[in-house]
Structures are given as C-alpha cells and as structure tokens.
C-alpha cells in the first residue's frame, strides 16, 4: 500500500471536543450517572453506618468506605464493577454506526482527516467522560467520609484511592473498546448495544460459573479432592479461565489495592506463609506489585480491542 502523508492526529482534538461535549450534555449520560450515583451513595451510606462503630480501630478507614459490604447491599466497588461496563457500553455502542445512520460519515470523512482521528477522538472522549464521572464520584465519597467520620484520609489511602481510579478507568476503557468494536461491526445501533450487553452479562454473570464447569470437565473431582479440597492444577486452571473475564481482573486488582491485607491473589503454600504476620497490611509498593499483572492485562485488553475496531473500520466502505 502507498505510504500516506500527513499526521494521523489531524482533527483528533476537534472530534474529541465535539464528542466530549455531546456526551456531557446527552440525556443518556445523565441517566447513567444518576444510576451510578444513587447505587454508589447507597452502598457508601450503609458502609458509613457500619464504620461509625469502628472508627478508632481501623488504620484504613477510608478504604473501608469503598469496600465495606452491608447486607443486602454490596460494597461500593462491587457496584462499580457491575455498573462501569454499563456506562461504558452506553457511551460507545453507537459511536461509529451512529455516524452512518445519521448519514454524517461521508461528510466527515470528506474533510482532511484520517479515519484514525475519528476513532481515536471518539474513544478518548468516551474515556474522558468516564474519568470525569468516576473522579466526581470518588471525590464525593471522600467528602461524605470526611463529613460523617470526621477523620481525614492518610496519604497512603489517597494513593491507593488514585490507584483505584486508574484501574477503574482502564476497566471502563476496556468496555468502551468492546462497545466501539460492536459499533464498527454492526450497522444497526440496537444490534450493537445488544451484543455488547450480551458480552457484559456473559463476562460478569455466566463466566465465573462456566470457568468452574470447564475445570470440572478437564479435571474431574476425585475422592481425594473431596477430602483434601481441589488440587493445585484445578485451582490454577480455574483461576486462569476466570481471568479471561475483565470483571475478574478488575475485582482482583481492587482486592489487592483496596484491601491492604491481601497477600496473594492465588493459591498460597504453607511454606510461603512462614514468618508472615497474618492480618498485617502489605506496604503500598507491594500491594501495587501484587496487582501489576491484572492491571497490565486490563490495559493490554483495551489496546487489543481498540486495534481490532480500528482494523475493521479501516476496511469498511464509506458508502452507506
């Protein structure tokens, strides 16, 4: 193929600003934000009720705001693990096919910009919208915590909180890339939304069950397992399978970052526990090191999906 001239980034900023403004002003986004806000605040409120009794004992009080689950409500981060994909899909499912159905695509592509700029501008606009929403929510919760608990967060808690934000944005970016890939492949917005939501349900609800099922099929439970528990191979296989789902990666990352006492995300041998003081938190750096593979996998997933969307989009005929 002939070499192209001109910058790939030409027009990217313009697309970004337009899409960003569209997202922030759209009714769809407002509905999704209220959904997240209400469920989030509900979870945090019940956490606060619990925490008021233990204020003096817990060194990581602020992290508890995010992780404390009080029946029947799940913890705030569990709520987010479920809702971030929904918001991301809502932002991205009609990104490309919407331009076709509005018949604006050929007009836009007749301007001196590459298709790359259009796709990237849209992706980053969606990511920026997610970031704004998450940061707002995060600050809101810290504010609530300050008001009701009366204790400021420690420096380490703030850094872990920022880590939580970064992981959440990467997780949202992954679902945004899924939604945009669907919007490139399917010309009808409804089909694209349904497929994206289907993938989301598969990954968040069915996949944990499926990974168990597949493990059982490959390593059938023996009598020894009934007495001793599952074998090392069984655990490893099941964990590897479960980690295909971004939801597992996200949950594990947050487990490491937001629960400082987490020492490992897989099976632990007795020898490894020698000399360990159980229940003591890990240092900050070690916690981040623990979740490093999970976080990089999430980011790698974003890149792979984006490249897939890009490749399909480049090959598409402009003629609607």
């Amino acid at each position: 193929m002939a070499r192209r001239s001109g910058s790939v980034w030409t027009g990217c900023g313009t697309v970004f600003m337009k899409e960003f403004a569209d997202h922030l002003g759209s009714g769809r986004m407002r509905v999704l934000e209220w959904l997240v806000l209400l469920t989030g605040i509900g979870a945090v409120y019940t956490a606060i009720q619990d925490l008021k009794n233990t204020t003096s004992q817990d060194p990581f009080l602020f992290l508890r705001l995010f992780t404390n689950a009080h029946d029947p409500l799940p913890s705030f981060i569990a709520v987010l693990g479920f809702l971030i994909p929904l918001v991301a899909i809502g932002l991205g499912f009609d990104a490309v096919n919407g331009e076709f159905s509005r018949r604006t695509m050929s007009r836009i592509l007749a301007q001196p910009v590459y298709r790359d700029a259009l796709l990237m501008g849209k992706f980053f606009a969606g990511l920026a919208t997610l970031t704004v929403a998450l940061v707002t929510l995060w600050l809101l919760i810290i504010g609530l915590g300050l008001l009701t608990l009366g204790v400021p967060p420690s420096g380490e808690e703030v850094i872990r909180g920022i880590g939580f934000l970064i992981v959440s944005i990467a997780y949202g970016g992954l679902w945004l890339a899924v939604a945009m890939l669907c919007s490139v492949i399917f010309r009808a917005a409804a089909t694209s939304a349904l497929v994206a939501l289907g993938i989301w349900l598969l990954m968040s609800v069915l996949w944990p069950l499926l990974s168990q099922f597949i493990t059982n099929a490959i390593f059938p439970t023996t009598e020894l397992n009934l007495i001793m528990g599952p074998s090392y191979e069984q655990i490893m296989l099941q964990e590897t399978l479960a980690r295909i789902s971004p939801n597992t990666l996200y949950a594990e990352s947050l487990l490491g970052i937001m629960h400082p006492t987490t020492r490992a995300l897989g099976p632990v041998f007795m020898e490894q526990l020698e000399g360990a003081v159980m229940g003591n938190p890990l240092p900050l750096g070690q916690s981040f090191l623990l979740v490093w593979p999970q976080v990089t996998s999430l980011i790698a997933g974003v890149i792979v999906l984006f490249v897939a969307a890009y490749t399909v989009f480049q090959r598409q005929e402009v003629r609607a």
């Binding site: 002939a2 018949r103 050929s106 007009r107 836009i108 301007q111 001196p112 590459y114 003629r319």
Partner: protein, 321 residues
C-alpha cells in the same frame, strides 16, 4: 499549491475499480477545468458514485491514475480533501446541533482558522439563504434545507473542486430551480463542479459538458449538442400538429426533409437537413390543411439518453438472439 496542467483540476486516466472480479468502473478518462460544470449521467449502478469516491480518496482505485487539484488521492488524501468540497447524495447532519455548529465542526476538521471560520460560515449560509436560521437546530430543517446546508459547507471550504452527488434528488421543483442557481454561482467563482445525476433536464440546464456512464465505462462525452449529434445523427427536428389529407406525402416532398413520421392522428414529426419551418407552414396551408402547431425540437439530453440506452438494449437483444 501545485497547479495541474493549465486549468485542469481533475484529471483521471484509465481509472478502474474492481469489486471481486466485477469491474464497477472500467477504464475511464476525465479532464475537468476550473469554472466548468461537468455532469456524470447514467443509470443506477453505472459507476458514478464509485468514480466520485475514488476521486475523493474515500475508495482506493484498482488501477489508473488520478490527479485532483494537483494531488493524488491515494497518496495524499488529506491534501485532496482540503481542496475538494463534497456533497454526498444522502447528506446528514447532527440534529441536536445548530446549522452553525454543524458547519463549525466540519470547518474545524477541515483545518480552517478559528478567526476566519465564523466569517466563512456566514458567507456559506448567506449563499444558500440559510443565514436567518443559522442558530436553529438542524433537526427542524426540511430535506431541501439540509441539502442547501450541505452546499453551504462546500462554499465555506472555498474548495477548488466541488463534487455533488445527486444534488437535487428529492427536492421539489422550486427548490431544485434555486439549487441549480446556487450551483451556477459556484461556476462563477471559478470552481470546477462535478455533479452526478439521473435527472436529465436539470443536468442539461446547468452542465457545460456531460459524460454518459454505462457499465463502468464512459459511453459518450461532450457538450449536450455534440452528444445529440452523435446519438441522434444531428438533423433538424420539427414537430407538427395539423389536419389535412395526405400530409405525410406533401411534407415529405419538400426539399431538405429527410424523414416524416405520423405519431398520432394529426401529429407529425420530421427530420430535415436545415430549418424548413417556413416552407412546412406554407405547404400545409397551401394544401388546404389547418396548421395548429409547428415547433422546433431542441436536442434534449432526455432524448439522447433514451435513444442511446434503447439502442444499447436492442443491440443486446440481437446479440442474445
């Protein structure tokens, strides 16, 4: 900016586009100058839109060479798009934005300076008489207004080349008339206009030259008069409504008349080598007949088009038999 040879802004030679093994466009040559309105005609699926997309660099050509405003659309698509304004056949806008905001977005994408942009948007809107509704949401616009807004975008871009795909399809007669007038305005600004259409009378009204597409090839090309000569054999056509006995023979006897056909009761059509209207009138009256109407048939693109494709069809049938 590198100018192409002389005034030619679109030059294509041996342009081909294959979809699988089928050729949608099969070796066409085009040369269009500044200030010229060039029409692409032909039935649906003849390769008009594919040609347009290749000129814009939106579809990669399978063979041949193209130069648009001095650039190659395959190697320098951005430069080509900077100098070409494009109005697609199904033009759409963001309904939730105003007309101005829509133009501002494409203007920014086109790389027009911020300071200059508002001025140029107003300029474009004024040309298509949409200045008063510039602040209204495009969702409230009629089909014709959207098309005019599309033209405003082309004008705003101040492009050297304007490519209009079916610019008047779906417009009412009044809107069509106005729209064609705006296209003529582009010509006055020395813009090379390439338009595709199957509405022939409109093409005839506005185009300097036309190319008739058929199965991915340019069948015939030139001015409307040249085309009609080529296809119709270039006689002087006359239509007559008259009553009288044995008129066919009387009219056929006049010198210069080549052929007379009776098209209906009292309706005749004849082809002559020169303008024989005066002799015809005199002959009819002298024979005791009553002359109702005597009319010169303008060589219309419609006739050319129909004649050409009828000829094609009957040839095809002969070939099949």
């Amino acid at each position: 900016m590198a100018e192409a040879t002389g005034d030619t802004v679109i030059a294509a030679t041996g342009l081909r586009k294959l979809y699988g093994r089928k050729a949608a466009v099969d070796g066409i040559d085009l040369a269009i100058k500044r200030g010229e309105i060039f029409g692409l005609l032909g039935p649906n699926g003849a390769g008009k839109t594919t040609t347009i997309l290749m000129l814009l660099g939106l579809t990669e050509a399978s063979g041949g060479s193209i130069t648009v405003a001095g650039f190659n659309p395959m190697r320098e698509p951005l430069e080509v798009k900077r100098h070409v304004g494009y109005l697609p056949d199904s033009v759409g806008f963001y309904d939730n934005l105003t007309a101005r905001e829509n133009l501002r977005y494409t203007g920014r994408l086109a790389g027009i300076d911020r300071e200059e942009l508002d001025e140029r948007i107003s300029d474009g809107l004024r040309h298509v008489r949409l200045l008063e509704v510039g602040e209204q949401k495009v969702g409230t616009f009629s089909h014709g207004m959207k098309r005019r807004l599309g033209l405003a975008e082309v004008i705003m871009k101040r492009a050297a080349v304007a490519i209009l795909d079916e610019p008047t399809s779906g417009l009412d007669p009044q809107a069509t008339f106005e729209f064609l007038d705006m296209i003529r305005g582009l010509k006055a600004d020395r813009v090379a206009v390439l338009l595709s259409s199957h509405l022939l009378d409109q093409v005839q009204a506005v185009c300097d030259r036309v190319a008739l597409f058929n199965h991915g090839k340019i069948a015939i090309e030139g001015t409307v008069e040249k085309l009609s000569q080529q296809v119709l054999g270039g006689g002087y056509g006359v239509e007559i409504e008259a009553t009288g006995s044995d008129l066919t023979r009387i009219l056929g006897g006049i010198s210069g008349v080549q052929r007379v056909t009776e098209e209906g009761p009292g309706k005749y059509r004849l082809v002559a080598a020169r303008d024989v209207r005066a002799e015809l009138g005199a002959a009819i009256v002298a024979s005791g007949g009553a002359l109702m109407r005597l009319d010169h048939i303008e060589p219309s693109l419609d006739t050319v088009y129909r004649h050409y494709f009828e000829g094609q069809q009957s040839e095809g049938q002969h070939g099949a038999a």
